[in-house]
Amino acid sequence: MIIKRFSDWPTWDWRSPVDELERMRRALDRLSGGFTGNVFRLPTAGVFPLVNVTEDQNNYYVRAELPGVKTDELDISVTGETLTLSGERKLPEESDKSSYHRREREAGSFSRVISLPARLDVDKVKAHAEDGVLTVVLPKAESAKPRQIAVKSS
């Protein structure tokens, strides 16, 4: 009966103490980050692979660290404003006779959708990988590019 009453309580939040601690930690992180100017404490989407997105006047650049992933094992697709990266990271089998001391590298599949702030020129998207870092160059659509407007004086 008591449990029933509690769950009916309008403002009662069934958060576990661990969640509450995590929330406090994040709040503190945000606070300290704000004072030291640490931009890296921004929350991530938490989806593999982690990406860095940069832009210049004409393009968006999406970069992801994918060591050991071959370009032909990657599936990159673009629609309108979103980029989808999916694929599988395979670790080649070593001989059966080897015994492991450490095994930290992970294999598995991944799929991630990244929404970009502006429309993209879908036909001109290019991607290349270099030293295990994938770079996708996404040209902005003509309508999304900044335009200089000349002010005429009459």
């Binding site: 890296f40 991530t44 970069r63 992801a64 660290e65 050991g68 006779k97 992970e106 991944f110 295990g132």
Partner: protein, 136 residues
């Protein structure tokens, strides 16, 4: 391997570390993920070092302590502004102590797609030898 093939990868932030020896270069230091395995004849080390060019990788073996130092080359062009930054770049650093005697002259390192493969052959004396027992 069937289990790992079906598994989906989890996003992990790179682990930042403090090195025992102070590095002279400013920047962040990370621990790379490694696989180490051993066969009768050699020890192999695989390390994920994305963004590292072969020329920026230093491998040092001294008193059975193997040290890896690798500087990442940032790929961002000069005119690019950050929109989202989820991973950080810096230097990878990790030390290993090796128990077996390694033949230093035969160490081989290959970098491919951001993965280092380091082969450390054991010296002849350390390779276990099968001794055939003759029946008299």
């Amino acid at each position: 391997m069937t289990e790992s093939e079906s598994k989906s990868l989890q996003a992990k932030e790179k682990k930042e570390v403090t090195t025992p020896a102070e590095l002279t270069k400013p920047g962040l230091v990370f621990n790379p993920a490694v696989d180490i395995f051993e066969t009768e004849r050699e020890l192999t080390l695989l390390a994920d070092l994305p963004g590292v060019k072969a020329k920026n990788l230093k491998i040092d073996l001294n008193d059975n302590v193997l040290t890896l130092t690798a500087d990442e080359t940032p790929l961002e062009g000069p005119g690019e502004k950050d929109v989202v930054r989820e991973y950080r770049t810096g230097t990878y650093y990790r030390q290993f102590s090796l128990s077996d005697t390694i033949d230093q002259s035969k160490i081989e390192a290959v970098m491919k797609d951001g993965v280092l493969r380091l082969s450390l052959p054991k010296v002849e004396a350390a390779t276990p030898r099968k001794i055939a027992v003759k029946v008299a």
